[in-house]
Amino acid sequence: MTNVGWWCSAQTGPWSWTPQFYPGIWAAMIALLVGYVYAIRRIGPAKVAAGEPVVTRSQVTSFATGYVLLWIATDWPLGVLGAGYLLTAHMIQYILYSLIVAPLLIRGTPPWMRELVWGAPGMGWARYLVDRPFLAFVAFNAVLAVTHLPFVADTLKPIQFGSMAMDVLWLMAGLIFWSAIGAFDQEGDMSTANARRLVYVLGITVLPTIPGAFFVFSEFPLYTTFEFATRAFSDLSAKDDQVIAGLLMWMGTMPILMARLAMAFFAWSATESRRAGQI
């Protein structure tokens, strides 16, 4: 195991399967776990009514799954491959952060803990977005668009701080986006809320197709980072890697979003049925 930095970033050398240790990632992951456990043990009991569980088993399972996937997405090897060798790995990271890890972490966080996080000092801006789904939607898509601009990605990826900033941005945008879904529940009419939730989730199936199309149909590699990287797999050219990443952006996100969409649709359908029954 070698140590090449504190956070995964684009490297100039050839790709190696020798494990690399990134202390910054380990520190962040341990801090997240310690924070979660501390909140459940020390803060939670005072936040819930007597007899109510501080956290449910399903929430812990969801958080644990999200936590493991977050570590996999961030650390070696996927983190290093995505930072500087393969656009496909970068895309897998993005999908994991935004569409899988973020909703799992949100689902694994009890409501009182979510209040605690969004209400923490310095998190006012995030709270503002979480309470306004439309703005959360715009922010989520803005992060997707901006972090995939070649100039931005090629500038940030070789720098450890830049690479970390991209990871944090993706995760934060995902957390805010999936948290904001809860804001629909505050609407009085559940039928309207569910319909809006449906449109909200449907909306993010559209935008990824734009960079995806650029990846697939571009004549040449878009990112210098991946164009000048030594090939991690000798049979996979930078162009082919880009096409796979584009297809992944189209196809890979679809099953996840469709599942979420189906959940929103059935919730809306159930509300409508109940309302019809009442009439």
Partner: protein, 215 residues
């Protein structure tokens, strides 16, 4: 030797330029062509003739007379080694991809010649197999230490040498740029590492079609 001095002075001139900053030297005719055509390569102050050397074709084992075999083609000449961890494979992969995206006329009008400068490890079999990862039409040349040194001197590039040794291997310091010879069998341009595929495609397409403008 004259050619080595020309290249050496070019490097020194380039360093001087970056330091001065305040005055802009007038463009040489070569630089003017590069600027006018929007080429990605760096211009030489004056053209250099195609180097006269004969090495072994790694694929066939036959002697390969560089001047004779590449006459009339846009030719890319690169001195590298097959164990190179970074620059060589990236250069060749990008040229291969650029040619892959180019028209048939361009592909037929370009020859890419790779000289393996690490004689002990760059065997004909190894060079052929390695080039096959990029493009089976690339020509690989091998030779003895003496032949390789003579070829590099003829092409006016610094002679490669063992740079650093480590357990189980060593790295070789070698010229990182690629010389481009136009149909007039002269080099007007060289390409450092970091040339994008789109730039290669643009330059090769244009130079195959138009050739180097005659003064």
């Amino acid at each position: 030797m004259f050619a080595v001095l020309v290249v050496g002075s070019l490097v020194l001139v380039a360093c001087g330029d970056s330091d001065s900053g305040s005055t802009e030297a007038p463009l040489t005719p070569q630089e003017q062509v590069v600027a006018d055509l929007g080429l990605a390569g760096s211009a030489f102050p004056g053209p250099l003739a195609k180097p006269d050397f004969v090495l072994d074709d790694a694929a066939t084992g036959e002697p390969y007379d560089f001047v004779e075999e590449t006459a009339g083609f846009v030719t890319l000449l690169y001195f590298g080694y097959t164990n190179c961890p970074d620059i060589c494979p990236v250069h060749l992969a990008n040229i291969a991809s650029a040619l892959d995206q180019s028209s048939g006329d361009t592909r037929r009008g370009v020859k890419v010649v790779f000289v393996g400068v690490d004689a002990p490890r760059d065997t004909p079999e190894r060079v052929t197999e390695w080039l096959g990862f990029f493009d089976t039409d690339f020509v690989g040349l091998t030779g003895t230490e003496e032949q390789l040194i003579a070829a590099q001197e003829a092409a006016a590039v610094p002679v490669a040498f063992v740079d650093s040794e480590f357990e189980g291997g060593y790295t070789v310091a070698h010229a990182g740029w690629i010389f481009l010879y136009t149909q007039d069998d002269q080099t007007h341009l060289r390409y450092p590492s970091g040339i994008r595929q789109s730039a290669w495609a643009h330059d090769l397409e244009l130079l195959v079609r138009e050739g180097w403008p005659s003064s």
